[in-house]
Symmetry: C2
Subunit: 613 residues, 2 copies
C-alpha cells in the first residue's frame, strides 16, 4: 500500500445532513461559552496514530470527511475542511458545502485560507492532547502574523457533544516472542540506551506506541490494523524504563519477562512519572520527537523544568534494520500470505468469467483464504479492491455505495496485506477481467519493467532512497507514464504497515541499509479507466560476492511470492535482464509455494509461472 | 570538468624548502605583533573566486599547497594545512610536514584539529576582506565551544611579508553583445528587479563578479579562465544599478550602452555607495548572498544600519536558463570547439603510434588547434591530459614533474574546454594508446552506457538533479563500477565553466529547467592504471510531442559534437536504445562538422563515425 489510508466509515448508518448542521451549531455554542472565535478539529489522537480508534474519529463525526489527512477549522460564521491533495474529490463528496469550504491544498495548515478570508485578531482553540508540538509550532507560524492566537483548551469540545462516543481501546498486552523478535527487550533497551548516551541525552520520552511495541517486545489489539498497545515509555540511558500503561493490561507473565528494569506507571499518574524523571536526569536533556509528542505532554515535561532535546526517535533505525530472526519470521509470514493470495487468484481465475463477482466479494473471499492460517491476525490495512475506474482512484476502498461488479473488459487492482504473528505483509496485484486491451498489456508490462528495475538492483552501501525512485520512473517516463506517489516505504515486523525507515521517494536522502523491509510499488493510473500497481516487499540483503569500486554491495531479496499475470505481460517488451529476474522469481514461487498446494490450485500456479520461466 | 581545479603553479621557479620555513617564521612574528595566537590563511580572495589571480594565491605562497580547496591555520607552535578530500595525496607532496600537519578531512573547518590538539583560549586572526560571512559563521561555531576568539584583522598579514606579490588584475571592460546574450542589460535588470520585489527586498548587493557580467552584459580578462571584470553591483528593485568598479576600466561606449540607470562608483568609495543605498532603502531589506559576500563588506553594510536578508543571488536561476540567442551562440561555440578537437584527434591517431608524444605535448597541440578560431579566447580551465595512472588521479594536471610519455598500452583522459566569444565549452574524451585490453573496452563501454542513459532521457517538468545522477550510476553499479564525483554541473555562456545551476548529484533537489546548460560526465577510475570520463554538454530542451501523465516533458540536446572511440566501444554490450542514440549522435557530427573538414581529417571523422551509425 503506497500511502495513507483510513478505516472505512461508510458502513456505519448514514448520518442525515441535518445532523451535521446540528453538530456544527453545537460546537459553535461551546466555542462561545469558552470565549473562542474558532476551534481546530484535526484527524489526530493522543498517540499520533495513522489509524484512529473509532472514538477518535472526531473530524468524521463533525464533518462527514473520513480521509486520514485533514482537519477542520470552525469559525463563528465560516468553516473550513482542509485535506491533503489525494482527498480533493472525496472531501467534496463527503462534506456538506453549505456549511464548509473545502480545500485539498494542505500547505502546512489553514493559514492561506485565513489570509483569503482576511481573518484577524481571533482566538482559536485547540485540544493540546491530540496535536503534536510541531503541528502547533507550524500553525502558530501561520497565525501570528494575523494576530490570531492559538489557545490550548483542556477537554475536547467535540467529546462534550458526542454523546455516544465509543470508549477507547483497552486490550490485553501479549508478549512478542524472542524467536520472532530476534533480540530480547533487555538487549534492545541497552542498545537504545547507548544511542542516547552518544546523543548526549539522559533519557528519551517515547510517545509513539510503535516504539513501545518494539522496545518491550509486546503487542496488543488496540487498533484495527496495527497490533499495538496504546502506551508510552520513558527510557533512561542506562536501559531502564518507565512504561506508562494501565497495569491491569499487563499480565504477571509479561512483567516477569520484562524484569525489574521496567517499572509501570498508570497513565493518570504520568505527572509523577515526569517528576521522577526530573529527579533522575537533573539538568541533563531528555529527547522527545516533536512529530509524536503532544503539546500537552511537552507542556507537562516543561512544567517540571525538564530540558527537552527535539529529535527523531532513536528506535527508528535499529527497528528498521531487521534482525536475522525477524527476517526469518518475515519470510515465513510472506509464504503464508502468498499461499492465501495464490489460492485466491486460482479461485478468481475460475470464478470471474461467470460475472457474479464484485469488489466487496473479492475482499471477503481473500480474507477467508488468509483466515485459514492460524497465525493470521487480520488485515494490515483496509483492502483496496478497485475495478476499472475505481482502480485509478488512489485512496479507493470499496464501500456499499461504490462497489462495482467485475464485468466487462478491465483490470482489478488488489492491494492488501495481513498481520501474522511474526510478520506484516503488503502486496498489490492486478488481475484481468474479460479480455485485456493492447493498452492494458503495454501499461502493465511497463509498470512491471519499473518494478524489475528496483527488484534486481544492486548498489553500494550508502545509497539513498531517491536512487530507487529514479530507477523505477525511468522506464515509465520513456513510455509517457508516471505515478503520483512514492515508490515505497518501510514495513514493520508484526507491526505498522507504514513504518519509518528509508523512504523511497524522489527527495529521499535516507540511506537504504541491510535488514530493512521496504515496499517496491510503482504504478500507473489512467483516470476513469483503470489503475495498475505492482507491489512486493523486499528485504535489503548483503551481496557478499559483489563490490562497487571496492565498497560493499547490497541488493534486494523479494519476500512476497505471488506470480505476476501472464496475460498482461508482453514478453518482447522486456530486456534480457528483466526476463532473467522474472524467471528466477517465478521459479522460486514454484519451489516454495508449489509444494503447499494440490490439485487444480497447484496446476494453476504451475501454468502461470511457466509463462515467465 | 567534473569539479574544482586550480591554475598550475608548478611552472614557476621552485621555491626552496628553507623559504617556506622563513615565511612561516615571518607570519608568526607578525601574529605576535598583532596580539594573535593564530592566523587563518584561506584559499580565497575578495571576490570568492574559484580561480584566483596570482596575487591572491597566499596559501600557495605560504605553504606550497596549490589546490583550490584548502586553508592554513598557523598557531604559535603548530600549523595545519586542511584540504578537501581530493587533495589528500597532493597536500602531502607539496607541503613540508616538518612545519605543517596536513589533513584532507575538511569537515567544515579546523575545529576537529583544534579539538585533537586540545587548543583553548586563543585569539585567532583572519582577513575579513577574503572570507565570506558564512565561512566565519561556521568557523565561529567550531571555535566558540573552545573559547577561541576569531578576530578580524585589517591588512592581510601575508601581504605584509610577500614583497614581490603580483598586482591585482585590472583589464579593460568589453561589451557582451546582445546578439549573443539574447537579452539587453535593461531587460535583465528589470527582470531581476521584479524578482527582488517578489522577495520583499528593496535592493540586492551582488558581490559575485559572475553576477555582474551577466547582469550588465559585460566581460573582461581579469582571470585566467573566466572572462570577468572583478567588480560588484548594488541592484535596486526598480532596475537601477550602482556598479562598484574603477571608472577608468569602463569605456564611454559601454557607459552609453548601459545608459543612465547604471551609476559607477570607484571601489575606494564603496562606503559612500552604501550610504546612498541606506538613504534609498530606509528600513527595507537588502538581499546579500552569505556565500559570496565578505565579512568586511557585510560589516560595512551593517555599520550603515542596513537590514540584510541572507539568500541566494536572484541572478542564478534566470542566468542558468539560457535565452534562445544564448543557446544559438552556445551551439556555434561548440561547433568551433568540436572542429578543433576532431582535428586534434585525427592528428593524434596519426602521430601517437610513433611514441614521441607526452601529456604536455597533447595540451599544447590541442591548444594550437583551438587557437585557429578567431573567436577563441583561451581555455575555460586548465587542461587535464592524464595518461595511464595519471588519468585515475581526479584533480590531475600535467606538470613538468608529472609529465608522462604516451607509450605502452593504456588510455589518455583528455578533459578540456574553451572560452569562445559567445560560448564556453567543456568536454572529456578518452583516447587509446597502443592496444586496449578487454577490461579497458568493457570499462569504456560501461561508462558510455551511463553517458547514454542521461543523454537520451526524457522527463517531466519538475524533475530534480538527483534523478540523472541515479540514471548514470545504475549501469555502472551493475558492473561493479562507480565514480567519486557528481554527474554534472551548470556551465556559463562565455562565463564560468562551473556556473551555479541544477547540480546533478546524488542529493540534488535542484529542478532541471528548460534552457539550462549542463555537463554529463560519468566516469570510472582504476587507481594506478587509468581513468575514463566521457563528458558532453547538454542544453535542456522542451519535447513538445511528448507527455508524461499529462505533464510537459523536457529532454537533452547534446551540444558537444565529437565522436566517441570505436576501438574502445563494444557494440554488443549496448542496448538497442543506446545504439540508436549513438547512431543519431554520430550522424549529427558527420552532418555538422564533416563539411568543415577536408582530406585526411574528414576521412578520419567519417571512418570513426561510421562505426556507430
Amino acid at each position: 500500500m503506497w500511502g495513507m489510508s483510513t478505516p472505512n466509515q461508510d458502513e456505519t448508518p448514514v448520518t442525515p445532513a441535518s445532523m451535521y448542521a446540528q453538530r456544527l451549531a453545537g460546537l459553535r455554542a461551546l466555542m462561545k461559552q469558552n470565549g473562542l472565535d474558532g476551534y481546530l478539529v484535526p484527524h489526530s489522537d493522543e498517540f499520533m496514530n495513522e489509524y484512529l480508534p473509532p472514538g477518535n474519529e472526531r473530524l468524521a463525526w463533525l464533518t462527514g470527511f473520513t480521509g486520514s489527512h485533514g482537519m477542520a477549522l470552525v469559525l463563528e460564521k465560516q468553516a473550513l475542511v482542509l485535506t491533503g491533495k489525494i482527498y480533493g474529490i472525496q472531501v467534496k463528496k463527503q462534506v456538506d458545502r453549505k456549511y464548509y469550504t473545502t480545500s485539498d491544498q494542505w500547505l502546512g495548515g489553514p493559514g492561506p485560507w485565513l489570509e483569503k478570508i482576511d481573518a484577524r485578531n481571533l482566538v482559536i482553540g485547540f485540544d493540546p492532547q491530540i496535536q503534536s508540538i510541531l503541528e502547533i509550532k507550524n500553525f502558530r507560524g501561520q497565525f501570528e502574523p494575523r494576530a490570531i492566537e492559538l489557545r490550548p483548551v483542556d477537554g475536547n469540545l467535540i467529546d462534550q457533544l458526542w454523546s455516544d462516543r465509543p470508549p477507547g481501546p483497552h486490550t490485553g498486552v501479549e508478549p512478542f516472542l524472542e524467536a520472532y523478535a530476534g533480540r530480547s527487550s533487555t538487549d534492545k533497551r541497552i542498545l537504545i540506551g547507548e544511542i542516547l548516551q552518544k546523543r548526549g541525552v539522559a533519557a528519551a520520552f517515547l510517545a509513539d506506541p510503535t516504539d513501545v511495541a518494539w522496545l518491550l517486545n509486546i503487542r496488543a489489539r488496540d487498533l484495527a490494523y496495527t497490533p499495538l498497545a496504546l502506551s508510552r515509555v520513558i527510557l533512561f540511558a542506562d536501559g531502564t524504563v518507565d512504561w506508562i500503561i494501565d497495569p491491569l493490561r499487563v499480565s504477571l507473565e509479561i512483567r516477569r519477562a520484562l524484569g525489574n528494569a521496567v517499572a509501570i506507571t498508570p497513565p493518570e499518574n504520568i505527572a509523577e512519572s515526569f517528576m521522577r524523571l526530573k529527579a533522575k536526569v537533573g539538568k541533563d536533556k531528555v529527547l522527545v520527537d516533536e512529530h509524536k509528542t503532544t503539546y500537552s505532554l511537552a507542556r507537562l515535561l516543561e512544567d517540571r523544568n525538564i530540558h527537552l532535546e527535539l529529535g527523531q526517535s532513536p528506535v527508528i533505525i535499529p527497528r528498521a534494520c531487521k534482525a536475522d530472526a525477524e527476517q526469518k519470521s518475515i519470510r515465513d509470514a510472506h509464504r503464508k500470505d502468498a499461499l492465501a493470495l495464490i489460492r485466491f487468484m486460482a479461485w478468481f481465475a475460475d470464478v470471474v468469467p461467470r460475472g457474479q463477482l464484485d469488489e466487496l466479494g473479492v475482499v471477503d473471499k481473500l480474507e477467508s483464504f488468509r483466515k485459514m492460517d492460524p497465525a493470521y491476525r487480520g488485515p494490515s490495512f483496509e483492502t483496496v479492491a478497485g475495478f476499472g475506474p475505481n482502480g485509478a482512484i488512489m485512496h479507493y476502498r470499496p464501500t456499499n455505495a461504490s462497489n462495482r461488479p467485475l464485468r466487462g473488459d478491465s483490470l482489478l487492482l488488489l492491494d492488501s496485506g495481513g498481520q501474522y504473528v511474526g510478520g506484516t505483509t503488503d502486496i498489490t496485484r492486478v488481475l484481468p477481467v474479460g479480455e485485456p486491451t493492447d493498452a492494458m498489456i503495454r501499461h502493465y508490462t511497463t509498470v512491471l519493467k519499473a518494478h524489475c528495475a528496483v527488484a534486481r538492483a544492486t548498489f553500494p552501501v550508502g545509497t539513498m532512497g531517491a536512487f530507487f525512485d529514479a530507477l523505477s520512473r525511468a522506464p515509465l517516463w520513456a513510455a509517457g507514464m508516471d505515478y503520483g506517489h512514492r515508490l515505497g516505504h518501510g514495513v514493520g515486523c508484526f507491526g505498522a504497515v507504514h513504518e519509518p525507515s528509508a523512504d523511497l521517494s524522489p527527495k529521499s536522502r535516507d540511506e537504504v541499509r541491510a535488514g530493512m523491509l521496504l515496499s517496491n510499488e510503482p504504478g500507473f493510473y489512467l483516470e476513469d479507466h483503470y489503475g495498475i500497481r505492482l507491489e512486493n516487499l523486499m528485504l535489503v540483503v548483503p551481496e557478499p560476492d559483489k563490490r562497487v569500486d571496492n565498497r560493499e554491495v547490497l541488493g534486494f531479496e523479494t519476500v512476497s511470492l505471488v506470480p505476476f499475470d501472464p496475460g498482461l505481460t508482453h514478453m518482447t517488451m522486456l530486456t534480457h535482464e528483466e526476463r532473467a529476474w522474472l524467471s528466477a522469481y517465478h521459479t522460486q514461487i514454484i519451489n516454495e509455494i508449489g509444494p503447499l498446494l494440490v490439485g487444480s490450485e497447484r496446476a494453476w500456479l504451475e501454468t502461470v509461472c511457466a509463462y515467465f520461466i
